[in-house]
Amino acid sequence: MAIDYKLITKEGLWSNNTVFAQQLALCPALAVTTTATNGLGMGLATTIVLIITNVLISMFRGVVTQEVRIPVFVLLIATAVTVIDMVMNAFLHDLYKVLGLFIPLIVTNCVILGRAESYASRHPILPSIVDGVMMGLGFTFALVLLGACREILGSGTLFANASLFLGNAFAFLELTVIPNYKGYLIMILPPGGFLVLGFLMAGKRLIDNRSKSKMAIPINAVST
């Protein structure tokens, strides 16, 4: 069985994007994306966890039966997240201070269980890793986009506090897009999250429809 890595990449990043297409993990996604920096943090932390859990689930796929798969996956994911939390706290303490807040939120993240169920439990380890990377990056992309829109509309800045997260070398990312901006408070609050998400999803559909109709023209031309 040939694995189409190009398809995995395309699905993860765009066509089957966790937030915009599968609409999974909206709870942590909407809660943290008040700034683009937080979106990036949550996205990267999720990517790391997703790769590790996909490997674990894929390793156990030969012995797990249909009937008990969900409790087994939940156990494996919860263990992996807890171990990652402890190991990061112990040996990567500086990184933990930045990403640590996001890790407890990942346990409740259905992207992880969703990928375990629909991909890693049916595929070998290598494709599962690629799936984890691509789905994770797609999630990161969605969260950064969502965070950036909310941050610009809500407080007029972009990537605020990025230097705390990425180090001082990335201080240039911190932009004040609109100076002396009072901000639409609602964009920072949860309703703003839903609003922006709705518009972004509509935007994705629009792009998809456009590219579909573009592709449709040459086919019609041939058939007539």
Binding site: A31, V32, T33, T34, T35, N38, G41, M42, F60, V63, V64, T65, E67, V68, P71, V72, L75, L76, A78, T79, T82, V83, M86, V87, N89, A90, F91, H93, L101, F102, P104, L105, N161, L164, L185, I188, L189, P190
Partner: protein, 217 residues
């Protein structure tokens, strides 16, 4: 897909599998806990040292803050004891730093606060918390200067009603989208001050650590 062997459909296989995975999971957790808890404690101690310097400015004292401690148990409960780090200048107690905590939105918020001899706050910092990033994490000094507003306050400044967030009629700002977090911090700081007030008499005559020689007051 290969045909599943018949033993897999038995109940015993399912429970054995689940039990086995649970066993592996607990093994993994136990091992990583043993392997990491020392390093975590060391990292926490290093963090605490940094924050200690922020809540009690180092020009105020000349002793070894971390070695000069006084332990006060809460309400006679030996397990719940608070360690006071005592700052002295020329053997005179000038300030103390200690931890206080309360329940935030997502678990415990641990704070460290420095209080001078008169009961005025020198500084408050968050040691650890698990509040929602972007909403509740503005209590960290790195993300906002909200926590600096406690500097210079004491139990009578502001008064009892002032020691609340604005929503509850007090003087402290809540955050947009997060009221529980600042409310918890204000409560913890207030409790810390109450604690200091109750034990002030004991604290100001805490014995020196190497030579247990009580200073005459």
């Amino acid at each position: 897909m290969a045909l599943t062997p018949s033993y897999r459909s038995r109940l015993g296989y399912h429970s054995g599998l689940l039990g086995g995975i649970a066993f592996l999971a607990s093994m993994a957790l136990t091992i990583s806990n043993i392997e990491t808890h020392q390093a975590i404690e060391m990292a926490m101690a290093a963090d605490k040292k940094v924050f200690l310097e922020q809540v009690v400015p180092s020009n105020l004292y000349d002793n070894e803050l971390l070695q000069d401690t006084l332990t006060i148990s809460l309400d006679g409960n030996e397990k719940e004891a608070i360690t006071m780090y005592i700052a002295r200048k020329e053997q005179q107690i000038v300030a103390v730093a200690y931890e206080t905590s309360s329940e935030g939105y997502a678990g415990k918020i641990n704070l460290i606060m420095g209080v001078n001899r008169q009961g005025e706050i020198l500084g408050v910092r968050v040691l650890s918390h698990a509040e929602t990033p972007g909403l509740g994490d503005k209590i960290e000094v790195a993300k906002a200067d909200w926590i600096l507003k406690f500097n210079g306050l004491s139990l009578n400044n502001p008064n009892e009603t002032g020691w609340h967030v604005k929503k509850d009629g007090g003087q402290f700002d809540q955050f947009t989208g997060a009221t529980i977090t600042p409310r918890a911090v204000v409560k913890a700081v207030k409790q810390g001050l109450d604690f200091f007030a109750v034990h002030q008499a004991d604290i100001v005559k805490a014995p020196l650590p190497p030579e247990p020689e009580t200073k005459a007051q």
